[in-house]
Subunit: 254 residues, 2 copies
């Protein structure tokens, strides 16, 4: 029985500047049936406010309250532990951390920084890590789908800095189990009552399954043939053509 | 019995723009005793010609023939396998590959590219790897010593691209056993007759020991307390203050 939904955004709900076919109607039916939805994303090129505005423009108005973003989880960790971040993130995201002290940095925050991933910035991060600062990251995603092909996400840069400084990053977004469980709790559900749907077999599906949720992989976005073979073969898993197909097959209430 | 020497360069023979204390005199005594020397380096910011000129300016004239550089090993591999490289290397190194065809690239070559390690270049490399091109690298060194601190070497970028494209790099410089054995052969020695001296515990010392050579770690260059604990505790290994100290202790002929 599914009592709540967690949805990935890029590649699952939208690609580029449009919602995927059938998504808007499917989600209206979910809402009409009284099944709560939260959105869980490692996207770190936008604040929650910017993300909410962008979704509204695509025709999917959602409030910031139901957006679980990895950068926000990093922010809350920094504040809770009284850490001063040095940010290697996308310029658009700096606003999310604007309320935290940033002088004398003692933590390195890695997001999908895009063109800000240059040698000087990576070297600065490395020197802080080598001096003992912890490495916090929004995720370890390998790549994402852009209009003209696949592009490097934050994960490869996490691996680079872990190797350079002989350290391990703390991942505060997907696939961290705490992240999925906090989102399930926000839905008012136990983990096993929640279905997570996404296009990233590791970050979305296997991460959710390891956290005790159900998980469904969609063949949209960054999905490539062969990804389905990498899914954790637990009873809660499955592979479907797209988000509407998951909901038709798995949510009997709709 | 040591019949030949392999020496690392940066951090072992010189730092910045000067030879380390006592090195010039020690190496004159080695040469006078008839013990052959080759230099083995993963340095990939210079061609062999540039390296030879730089050493001459430091007061250590050596011919290109005794310089075993990782970029040259990569070049020879590409030519032997009829591969067209896409180069992510330091601009000064491009000359080393100028005789190879570079249109329709089907191999990615990674060197210590310095500021050329930017997002656009790394993404281009990733897309070629994702399409099936092999990843060839001069080494997997983590960092090197600069005047103002430690800086990222090629290794972290190797790890980044390996992770992104789910592939394994082929390392053609240190610590590859073939690289050390080819250098020993050039000295006219069996591997066990050769002593490798360097400041990188993994690339120089443990790599040489695994290839059947003897190995000595020096406490100059990038050496940091604790590195000595990571040395392979095989009979051929050892830790010394600097290059002259190694020669005094290990080369009875001098």
């Amino acid at each position: 029985m599914i009592r709540g939904l967690l949805l990935d955004l890029g590649g699952t709900v939208y690609v580029g500047d449009r919602l995927l076919p059938g998504v808007a109607e499917s989600l209206r039916r979910v809402t009409a049936a009284g099944v709560p939805i939260c959105y869980v994303t490692n996207t770190s090129r936008m604040t929650r406010r910017q993300l909410s505005e962008m979704l509204a423009q695509l025709g999917l108005p959602v409030s910031e309250d139901v957006l679980f973003t990895a950068p926000r989880a990093v922010h809350d960790y920094l504040r809770h532990h009284d850490l001063h971040p040095w940010l290697l993130v996308h310029p658009a995201l700096e606003e999310e951390f604007a309320d935290l002290p940033q002088e004398r940095p003692d933590a390195v925050v890695l997001g999908d920084a895009g063109n800000a991933f240059n040698y000087a910035h990576l070297n600065r991060a490395f020197r802080l890590l080598h001096a003992g600062a912890p490495l916090l990251t929004v995720g370890e995603n390998r790549y994402f789908q852009e209009e003209d092909g696949l592009s490097l996400d934050v994960g490869p840069f996490v691996r680079a800095l872990e190797y350079a400084a002989d350290t391990r990053a703390m991942i505060l977004g997907k696939p961290a189990a705490e992240f999925f469980r906090a989102a399930a709790e926000a839905l008012g559900c136990r983990p096993e009552e929640v279905l997570m749907i996404g296009d990233d077999v590791e970050a979305d599906v296997n991460g959710a399954l390891r956290a005790g949720l159900q998980g469904a992989l969609v063949r949209t976005g960054k999905f490539r043939p062969g990804d389905d073979a990498r899914i954790d073969p637990s009873p809660g898993g499955g592979v479907y053509d797209d988000l509407p197909a998951v909901l038709n097959a798995r949510c009997s209430a709709l």
